[in-house]
Symmetry: D3
Amino acid sequence: MRPSGRAADELRSVSIERNFTMHAEGSVLISCGNTRVLCTASVEEKVPPWLRGKNEGWVTAEYGMLPRSTGSRMRREATAGKQGGRTLEIQRLIGRSLRAVVDRRALGERTITLDCDVLQADGGTRTAAITGAYVALVDACNGLVQKGRLKSSPVHGQVAAVSVGIFGDTPVLDLDYPEDSGAETDMNVVMNDGGGFIELQGTAEGHAFRRDELDALVDLAEKGIRELMVAQDEALA
Amino acid sequence: MRPSGRAADELRSVSIERNFTMHAEGSVLISCGNTRVLCTASVEEKVPPWLRGKNEGWVTAEYGMLPRSTGSRMRREATAGKQGGRTLEIQRLIGRSLRAVVDRRALGERTITLDCDVLQADGGTRTAAITGAYVALVDACNGLVQKGRLKSSPVHGQVAAVSVGIFGDTPVLDLDYPEDSGAETDMNVVMNDGGGFIELQGTAEGHAFRRDELDALVDLAEKGIRELMVAQDEALA
Amino acid sequence: MRPSGRAADELRSVSIERNFTMHAEGSVLISCGNTRVLCTASVEEKVPPWLRGKNEGWVTAEYGMLPRSTGSRMRREATAGKQGGRTLEIQRLIGRSLRAVVDRRALGERTITLDCDVLQADGGTRTAAITGAYVALVDACNGLVQKGRLKSSPVHGQVAAVSVGIFGDTPVLDLDYPEDSGAETDMNVVMNDGGGFIELQGTAEGHAFRRDELDALVDLAEKGIRELMVAQDEALA
Amino acid sequence: MRPSGRAADELRSVSIERNFTMHAEGSVLISCGNTRVLCTASVEEKVPPWLRGKNEGWVTAEYGMLPRSTGSRMRREATAGKQGGRTLEIQRLIGRSLRAVVDRRALGERTITLDCDVLQADGGTRTAAITGAYVALVDACNGLVQKGRLKSSPVHGQVAAVSVGIFGDTPVLDLDYPEDSGAETDMNVVMNDGGGFIELQGTAEGHAFRRDELDALVDLAEKGIRELMVAQDEALA
Amino acid sequence: MRPSGRAADELRSVSIERNFTMHAEGSVLISCGNTRVLCTASVEEKVPPWLRGKNEGWVTAEYGMLPRSTGSRMRREATAGKQGGRTLEIQRLIGRSLRAVVDRRALGERTITLDCDVLQADGGTRTAAITGAYVALVDACNGLVQKGRLKSSPVHGQVAAVSVGIFGDTPVLDLDYPEDSGAETDMNVVMNDGGGFIELQGTAEGHAFRRDELDALVDLAEKGIRELMVAQDEALA
Amino acid sequence: MRPSGRAADELRSVSIERNFTMHAEGSVLISCGNTRVLCTASVEEKVPPWLRGKNEGWVTAEYGMLPRSTGSRMRREATAGKQGGRTLEIQRLIGRSLRAVVDRRALGERTITLDCDVLQADGGTRTAAITGAYVALVDACNGLVQKGRLKSSPVHGQVAAVSVGIFGDTPVLDLDYPEDSGAETDMNVVMNDGGGFIELQGTAEGHAFRRDELDALVDLAEKGIRELMVAQDEALA
């Protein structure tokens, strides 16, 4: 029995609100249950030094949590003087996931930065960030086309992500915070719309997971990501 | 003529939304025109080392801007490794302003941290932060009373803030970004509900301002702050 | 009754010693009572990156306190790994104040850095720094003229600063440390020789100050700054 | 055809040298082909602040690369002022992997730190580090037993790790650097001696990987890890 | 022929001014020619964590240069975010030199910090700092005796320092900046009043120095330090 | 009587193993008794900014200790966020020592970085680093000649280093850790093959050392360095 009363293969309710703020080229507030992440896509007409003159663009991500997005206040990373290991790990994951669906040559010498800032956390912030950032990225690229700066969007695939885990011996989809903190195993899965895996990161918090459990978790993730892609499509329609 | 078409002594429309996020003891989204700041109040049952054992509490503030709250993307302070001078100056101002209306002995050995994070910037973020943080602070203190941890709220006054400035030779109230960047003089005023000044910070960007201009600016600020206090009262009603 | 026995509108004795050290283009030791600040002006034939190629110069300031300039030893900021919020706030104030009297186009593509280092602190270090830095700046600019690198000095006005405050219910001029730590309200005022205000920063430490108190403080500041300008003129004569 | 001429399911030659340095409680030089990592286990009679008084111990890891362990010199992280995101991600992985086989209550209030320093890199440094660190950990815990500080070793399982990937459309075991830089997909797998998965991290560098490819990779990893555990057993015999 | 016209074994004129600033327990401005260093001794009734409860005190030093103490402006270390290698090396040297003449048990659980800040640099700042800091240290310790906090001064010896070097093939005493930058070999020597060496640091900038040159340099240093000790005695008389 | 049973003028056994790792242009593991330092020389075809366009090269050094190279674990400097004062002092010493035997004009616009990483420490790590780095430097420069990038090696002299000290009133050669921690005086001496001194750094830890002790220590160092140069020659033969 899940704390939320959801079925084992049931996602939390998802909402994706575009144009949440006015300055960014793409600005999406994604809510997965009580988890709310603001994902903005910013286009800049330059690339990092190591890419200059190579006729390709860059897509990168940064991740942050507002200090009181969580149950007890976290220290602001700007006052700590650096981003923590968890933050760096997450923003590297988001960046790799989004780059997997962009043709960087077609993007040209520009950088798109996906800033994913958690306003309210209830588990699954990194996967919500990926799912929301995809929509912001599409908006930003379509904007480049509308302004005549690109002929067609360099986004060549769709990407979404979800967490799965083993909670009380049962594989479940889309863990919220109470499940996440009590789960035996936690896995984040990132897939594209061709059914291919972009990232798959499983961690046994308690007992190590068996091969059959791995299979069941991957099945759940595939189902959840298909549903999230429908939500992305509806938001973009 | 103001870019926004407002009268010289006209505030932007204000909205104050309480309980914007669920974890914080006080959580307020304040909008002053297009400027939107999320102000959370977090209560912690401890004080900074230099206050331990002194039977008084502490009220402090932190300020941040999301990287794409602005027209062009700003570098995230957490990646820069430190908060900039402007950020430190603003959060010191917010902290002093709020402490001015709290009886720290009555608060007891607790800390209330006001996190003011700008989701969208269009001028006047520091004064909006003060005005919104006051409401979050009241909510947090009332919560302490409701939970029986305090007999009465330690908030003994009301505080709000506004910017005024000289734009095109005319003193105007509540500058938005186009006015702020073109203003000759910019002044931030923080007042309490007794009509007293808590902070007054005027800077001549262009020509130095005269004594009569100072008087006119202060008059405008007094009017604006009275109106902002009405908006606070309505939100808290 | 002031701790020092001074009248309410009486400045501390001021001395301004030019050429205090030998390397800087301008080098001034200013003493306001027991507060002693070494202000050097350094000319460099370059501008910050964001000003390159714009045919204008830059004037900036840095501020520091020697670790034992104060009653108890302060931590050296170089060992703390960063400048504190107070330091950043002060050096931004000094920089803005001096820029207000320099024609940056006439300066050409050069930077003048005003380093204000407090050798001995007894209240009012930031205002002493501004008053002293003006003299160092004039010396540095006159040096550029004498060396034939500029036709005339780009300094087009005079600037000085003083603190005022309410001590024991009485508005007083030029607070020393015992007054500063006991003051209800503390205000730093920066003016030019045309009687215009460049900066005005008032903070209520205790009770909020009323409009009539504000007026009295500004009157005192105007009087004090006129006298400080006479001291600057005598030093430069 | 693999650059090294190895069969698709063939590990590089492994050597595990214990007592490589004299001070650490466990000190292992592991070589997996040309990848050489020095893994030391240090026992300290204290725990991190957040574990004090909880009657359990802590096991953690740190990872570093000597500046010239790689083909071109890397900047020393101590001069960069911080550990990079990749380093933090790797040392978090190593720490979690080793904690999965330690009974932290049985360890008592002590910390064991596994320092994994890469002397020479040729792909697979993080998995080599885990495999080597396990041996150092066993030595350190056995030493605690021999000195009478513990009745029995708190190590309750065996852990080893290997990388697998898709190189030129073929799933292969134990990637070296030329394979790693050209691989379509790269997966690091950490398992215990019960055949359970502790960590599984797969990343598509090029095309996304299919479910059947995932299965083939996991099969290869299981085979490789069984062989690495034999090497660990032989070293410890 | 020396640039200054001095004889090879001739010190620059020395002046030692006590009580240069008012807050520190010892405050000395030492001038060796144009090199001027402000040395303050601060007494604090605590010791570093690693000395607590050991019934001994600590003597340490910090060193800094004002940004424009030199011919061209140096970056302020507080803005650079750390002290440079040269600074750390110098302040470690000063600290060791002063500790060599203090009975730390007799000092009791206190720390004396010698802050040596260079107001004007013309070569030999580290040796001037040691020579001046000794006088500040004596004043601070005598003050402890006068206030009844110690029965007798814990300073059991006298220490002074000078630089020597080979300039144009000739061993010379007390290098100024023009000599220092052109010297083949530069040696800093710290001695006590018993004629013993506390520190001796020689560096060949150009050709390596021979054994006979070493002997000549040490002879010069012994002579110079004897004279500096006379100046210290006179200042303290 | 020395703890190791060595005669007062007896070096520890020295071994110098070239090509210890495969990527660096020079890679040497030097063992002086139980002290083991890995010294790599890395050639890069660029110079620091301040040397660009000056037709000369640069030789520099970095020094580090693995966290458990020592008896108790040291904090990793990369996690501390900066290199400590001792580290900076040592790597400056190593860099100066090696530069003393290189013709930087003949090297051309390249940088050679000597990374000296202590795998195991038992006293004398900095002098072992210098002695080993020389061999790595020779290998790297000879490699440049063999690849036709230089006509002849820019190394024009030989350099080695040793520590000496006064242990129990007796001057002794090549201190190991038990001697080093108990020594009255510790001196590091760097010499070239012409018998000239490149660096000489003596520190009195306990009583100050006399002139005759200085002479005895220098005699011992000269003897030890001659023997170390024989070991270097044999390794390079």
